[in-house]
């Protein structure tokens, strides 16, 4: 997990609004970086930045919604707070569907703006944590052998050693051996912990229940 402090990235083609918003956020204690266009944002941003993105919806070139779609495809999808000169319903719906944290008009009161920014930053921290956990879990599960992953799939479905042995057509003792190896590699002793890890890694679906033929 990154320990860097959050930065508010503001993208707006309106230079004066960009400056003014940056001043307010700095005066309110945030670290701020400004970009005059979506293209500038992609070329100049710190790829590992933490924080959030505050973007104008209507911009020449790549507009806010396109920026949102492009950012979602990167490995560091900062959450977005949209600002617009004039809130029209279709684009706000699209923005929210695309996962935006909020959609405000540019004349929104300061408290509303700062509140939304704090929520967006908090969401980044939350999502970042989830992503890190998933990545870590994935890495650890990646060290398992094919057979061990298979056994793990059965274990987290609550099957007993004997049942697993039957299902896979191996000896119960071999199952025990695999379980021990899994516990060592993943460093988690209990079935509950194993299940949590597998959920975090998002790999539960990889283990369809298997049954011996003829049953």
């Amino acid at each position: 997990m990154s320990s860097a402090s959050p930065v508010i990235h503001i993208v707006d083609d309106d230079a004066s609004f960009l400056r003014a918003t940056s001043r307010l956020l700095r005066a309110s204690g945030f670290a701020v970086k400004t970009f005059a266009s979506a293209a500038d944002f992609f070329s100049q941003r710190d790829q590992d930045a933490v924080g959030c993105l505050v973007a104008d919806l209507q911009m020449p070139g790549m507009d806010g919604l396109e920026l949102q779609a492009a950012l979602a495809r990167t490995r560091n999808p900062l959450p977005i707070l949209f600002l617009s000169g004039h809130g029209d319903i279709p684009s706000s719906v699209r923005a929210m569907r695309g996962g935006a944290e909020d959609f405000l008009v540019k004349t929104a009161p300061k408290v509303v703006l700062l509140d939304a920014i704090r929520r967006t930053v908090a969401r980044d921290a939350r999502e970042r944590k989830t992503r890190a956990q998933r990545r870590e879990a994935n890495e650890r599960i990646g060290t398992l052998s094919e057979r061990e992953r298979e056994v793990l799939g059965h274990v987290i479905r609550g099957r007993l050693n004997k049942q697993i042995a039957d299902d896979l057509g191996i000896k119960e003792r071999t199952v025990k051996y695999h379980r021990q190896s899994i516990t060592t590699k993943l460093g988690v002793p209990s079935v509950a912990e194993l299940t949590r890890l597998a959920l975090e890694a998002g790999v539960l679906a990889e283990f369809p229940p298997t049954f011996p033929k003829g049953q």
């Binding site: 004066s16 609004f17 003014a20 918003t21 001043r23 700095r26 000169g85 008009v105 540019k106 009161p109």
Partner: protein, 627 residues
Amino acid sequence: MASSLVAVFVVLTAVCAAGSEPKRVLVVHSFGSVAPPFTTHSIAFETELVEKMGKRVDLDEVSLDMARYADSTLQEALVEYLQKRQSHWQPDLVVPIGSPAGVFVAQYRDRLFPKTPILYTGMDRRRLPPDALEKNAAFIGENFDLPGFVEDILQIAPATKNIAVVIGASQVEQYWAAAFRKEFEPYANRINFIWLNDLSLDQMLEKTRALPPDSFIFLILLLRDATGVTHNADEALQRIHAVANAPINSIFQHQLGLGIVGGRLYQAELEGIESARIAVRILNGEPASSFQPRIVGPLSPRYDWRELKRWKIKEERLPPGSVVSFREPTVWDNYGGWIIAGVSFCFVQAVLIFGLLANLAKRRLAERSLIASEDRVTLAADEMRRLQDEIAHVGRVSMMGQLASALAHEINQPIGAILRNAEAAELFMQSKTPDLEEIRAILADIRADDQRAGDVIDRMRALLKRHVLDTQLLDLAELVGDVAKLAQPDAATRHVKLTVNLPADLPPVRGDRVHLQQVLLNLILNGIDALNRAGPGNRRVTVSARVDAARTVEIAVSDTGHGIAAEKLAHVFDPFFTTKPDGMGMGLPISRTIVESHGGRLWAENNNDTGATFRFTLPQAEEASAS
């Protein structure tokens, strides 16, 4: 604003006309999506076609602009692309609009559309390839009278010694530059032609800013300038108009009002509509070759009154039978004060913030007052929002609606920046040692944004002024029917029975279709609103009409509500007078202005039994003038 109404009607007609297998029409554009006069033509064509055919037409388009930097390989690639696409989608009719598209289609006809009928349009007769019409094809286009354009200029400005010719450098423009040069030769001893075709638009603007005395500017086309930059000719015209020191003429009717003086103008829009009508007949089975090639000529001379005034051209100089437009007072002229008042209100808030800040800067250590002032800034912002909401409410009358929405959008940029700057300044000043440099920069920014907001208002103003009457012959039954269809869903959801009751033989009137639709829609919706508190039994709004002895047509919209209180009856047409909790009081005054600018009257009266009736008159059209 017209387009959105049109779009609604298009949808309505489309729904009504659903039925058999749709006919496929491929429109081949010469240039991109905003390239007047080609797009003036194509928009009229597509709108008319869809209006006439509804869902029975499947409209598809390609643009030759895909091969913009036309070398032969790109064009070949486009042909291959079209061939591939035809294996999925075979058109029943191909419509190239403009000569680049026409020449392209004719050249590749045998490979691309050997059997499909072709309708060549939006081009001059002499640009049509010689054998193009031999194979199941029709033509509707122009036959420009090139010396006529010079004659038109000399008619109104006989002392003209120089004509600056504005034209771009794309292929089609090169063709026309050469053609015009040749046809202008006979005038060489009298007139010095200044050709601007090898310049960028910026350079053209420089030139037209400082032309010698007795000059005239003639804009032929501006699609792509010599530096390869693409332009919208109508916008370029407006930019030239803004800086030029000489009067301007151009070729097409839709440009009247954008800054040209006028003359015999060609009708790209009418040509679009006429070609759509021929397209419908071809799609309904008539062979394309059965249509005689058709030339759409110029209109009788027409002029922009404001330009005549500006360049001191006497109306006696105009040829007999000339039409002078834009003489009418616009909505802006009548209610400009009120609109400014509304908008200024926004401004007062901005100024208030500014004043507040200036004040703060003076006594920057008086931290106590800051909390109170922050409340005031928030209040001011709330006030602005409330005002914007109110302006947005007028959206029902679409002209005001467009104004409001554009205004809200444009003006929120500088106002938002002012607000953010004010808030930031407050925070900076709470510090023990405020950064005065920063605060100075903030104040400078606020001042600049204030200026910017002012410019927005100026632009809005120009926009309102530009929207002047576009009069045409109107069938009242059709107009009323269209608007009733539009209001019907609103009436139904509010349990109001909307009835149209017109005599069969209403004479046509002359007027601006969109404006009159707005008036009628506004009256009908007001009628529906008037029934808000009426009981469930008798909730009716009726539109009726009758012909008056004085050759006027009177249209009445009556409701069965509670009527208008006697003391209010005299004020319903006052701006900002409203009886509705969420009303703005602009609908009726705007409606009255529109009716009066058509030479009619609009008034209100209470019915004998129950409810009120709004009536307006319009003069009958004289015999339809040939155009």
